[in-house]
Symmetry: C2
Subunit: 436 residues, 2 copies
């Protein structure tokens, strides 16, 4: 029986999951592919550590080159993450004629424009189902299942850490810093949480999803990114009171060829499906002109869920290899020669409803000052709330606008910040009333 010889870079959580699947599901994988998926070698900084797996003939090494340059490897599975040495290793692997399967969203978002053309030039596959949304097969769905559609909108909960934190803040009524510490203790957040809570990780994933949806190479620089550090427990309480949930959404919209890409805390109606995605789960909603909106939900991270997607890519390779074909599906669904950079809609042009939070001195005239600023910026108010009284401390002033441009919101908040009565930096959260 034909073989696919596999080398793995990285033996952390996901690496362990992939190795376990390959070692325990050999028969199932042969029955599905007609190919032996043979794990040849694992490169890790800590080859001596016991992972509790019966490795048998599998070779362990701390020499990464023994995977990417070896003659006895057909496909390199990259699970070390980060930009370097991952980027150099994958370039070496492709240059030496190996296929690549990776879960490295950061690398693809930032260096996809280098790696994919190299793979095409060498006629090798560079597969990445596990790079976005863990077990959810959103890459294959976008590249293949929805390929008859013009996609005009995609949004999703792409970072489980943020969704867990926002869920806990609401359920416990606790502030961000406290919930983050708790999440770190439980292993749901990293010691340095900034990639997650500042929205960077979600933006890497959004760059990849937008590339497939609209037909371009991923371009991380185009994305407007806001994380969840400024979401306060006051915002969460008000959202609940007004019938919303706050979610960190990655949003990609296309309108007449112009594209809007953003990662932002967003208020969504409490009865919507996206509001019901809680804890560490991920979900992606895609609107195609023929399919309408379809939705995909599952575990966005973890040893086995992510390994499920890595091994799905290996199965794809094995099946293509047995059927004698390669390059069946272009990395971003469109053939490379049809890819184009899409012109971006500037944040100034975005229109929508906004939630505004100010901390103001509790004295006569303040409301008049604030509403005059809104009037100057032609911003029309749907609702205004002020609760609580204090002679000394600031009190929250909450406003919800009718549809307006983000440019006007930003100008208004900058102007308000200059007012004597406004005692903290004003914050806003975008409202998306029409999500599914």
């Amino acid at each position: 029986m034909q073989e696919l010889r596999i080398g793995v870079l990285g033996f952390g959580v996901v690496g362990r999951g992939v190795v376990e699947l390959l070692l325990t599901q050999g028969e199932l994988l042969r029955q599905r592919t007609g190919v032996v998926l043979r794990l040849v070698r694992i490169a890790t900084r800590t080859p001596a550590r016991d992972r509790g797996l019966p490795l048998g003939e599998v070779e362990l090494t701390d020499d990464l080159q023994r995977v990417v340059s070896a003659d006895d490897i057909d496909v390199v599975v990259e699970l070390i993450g980060g930009l370097e040495p991952a980027r150099s290793l994958l370039m070496t692997a492709l240059q030496s004629g190996k296929h690549v399967v990776t879960a490295n969203k950061a690398l693809l978002a930032l260096y996809g424009h280098e790696l994919f053309p190299l793979a095409a030039a060498r006629q090798r596959e560079l597969l990445f189902e596990a790079a976005v949304a863990g077990a959810i097969p959103i890459i294959k769905v976008l590249r293949e299942s929805l390929a008859a559609n013009r996609i005009d909108q995609l949004y999703g909960i792409l970072n489980g850490t943020c969704n867990y934190i926002l869920t806990e803040m609401r359920e416990q009524g606790s502030p961000f810093a406290e919930v983050l510490r708790d999440a770190q203790a439980k292993g749901f957040a990293e010691a340095d949480p900034s990639f997650d809570v500042d929205g960077i990780d979600a933006a890497h994933k959004l760059a990849i999803l937008a590339a497939i949806s609209f037909g371009s190479y991923p371009d991380f620089q185009q994305i407007h990114i806001e994380g969840i550090r400024h979401v306060s427990d006051i915002d969460i309480q008000w959202a609940t009171e007004m019938g919303y949930r706050i979610k960190l959404l990655g949003i990609a919209k296309q309108d007449e060829g112009r594209v809007e890409l953003r990662v932002q805390p967003t208020m969504v109606p409490v009865g919507s499906m996206v509001a019901s995605v809680e804890g560490v789960y991920n979900a992606v909603f895609v609107r195609g002109h023929a399919a309408g909106t379809t939705m995909y939900h599952g575990r966005g991270a973890g040893e086995r869920p992510t390994a499920s997607s890595v091994v799905a890519d290996l199965i794809d390779l094995a099946r293509s290899s047995r059927a004698g074909c390669g390059g069946r599906v272009a990395p971003f669904s469109m053939l490379p020669e049809a890819l184009q950079q899409f012109p971006l809609r500037q944040t100034d042009d975005w229109r929508g409803e906004y939630y505004l939070r100010l901390a103001v001195a509790d004295r006569p005239g303040v409301l008049a000052e604030v509403t005059q600023v809104l009037a100057r910026q032609q911003i029309s108010i749907d609702a205004i709330h002020q609760k609580g009284r204090s002679a000394v401390a600031a009190v929250p002033l909450i406003m919800v606008t009718h549809a307006t441009s983000e440019r006007q919101i930003r100008l208004a908040l900058a102007e308000m910040e200059q007012l004597d009565a406004v005692q903290e930096t004003p914050r806003f959260i975008r409202i998306e009333p029409n999500v599914v």
Copy 2:
């Protein structure tokens, strides 16, 4: 540029959607496949009818053989539905060397064991993404994306007509017959609704999903089928009162190699995701040993959503054709030689909690008679409710059991039906407390 020459059988709702996609999205399809998807001919009983589409060079005929036997067609898209002449036409198409794309769930569920081996013998593809759940790409997800998983459980809302009727019954508080008439008037139910409301259509789809999940040819005969005709407005009210929704679920479970397949009205907790799938939408939940539970949601029928899946299959064919490969993925994920018939768990062996509804005379001693029957069958009661009083009419008696076998439930209800005080056939609804 290479061409894929397409012939379409049937020019009804879905046929129109497919033709429109092919005619209007030619450039997108070329950019995604590198192949011209050329619509050559449409066979329909009513070629003269105006569908409002710019057909140009496309030939219209009422001679179905001019599609399945013609030399200038590479792939036949079958959208006429039903068993004959669809079955004979597709056998002719495969025998004369054509690929087939079909949305015909009934045909595959009943004659898959003939058609797929024929396709394999002729080295032709027989693709069927559109046969299950409309726009939701559940076939590709099961065959490819989750292929590294042992799947032990799959359930879903597979029939939009039933889900619409159950949703309306709950929202309007109206009985089944009235909501059905309304659904027929709106075009959400057929003039003869039995395929939908008796669960047959959902069972056809479940047969196909179970075949892929567990590795067999579809076998419609194995499925236990109950429709929604006996769901009363009383059941819906009590479900709501007890924190449940009633959904017609297709359920496939595997446990130690034995399989349970059923289509049944089912009570699911009101906070579950499956409970939130309303109206004409479909959703499928799949539990794999590595991925965990992933969920897929979207429009289960309709012109464009179904056409989106039909054309996805055509794109698959075009990409394989350009890459020079065929038979990459086996129809049921496993290679044909690895498929097996799975032993069935009999309904008697199923265990679960049950909701029971009786119509009883309102007089002393009735409760004792009924509960003695339950005691004899060793059925333990979690809750019992009787509301309303009547000297003349029967009153509803509602019970919820602890986990018990379906055999015991059926024996108990048969015995209760013999009691003088019991005035209608007793009904039960299975409770699934652990759905996602």
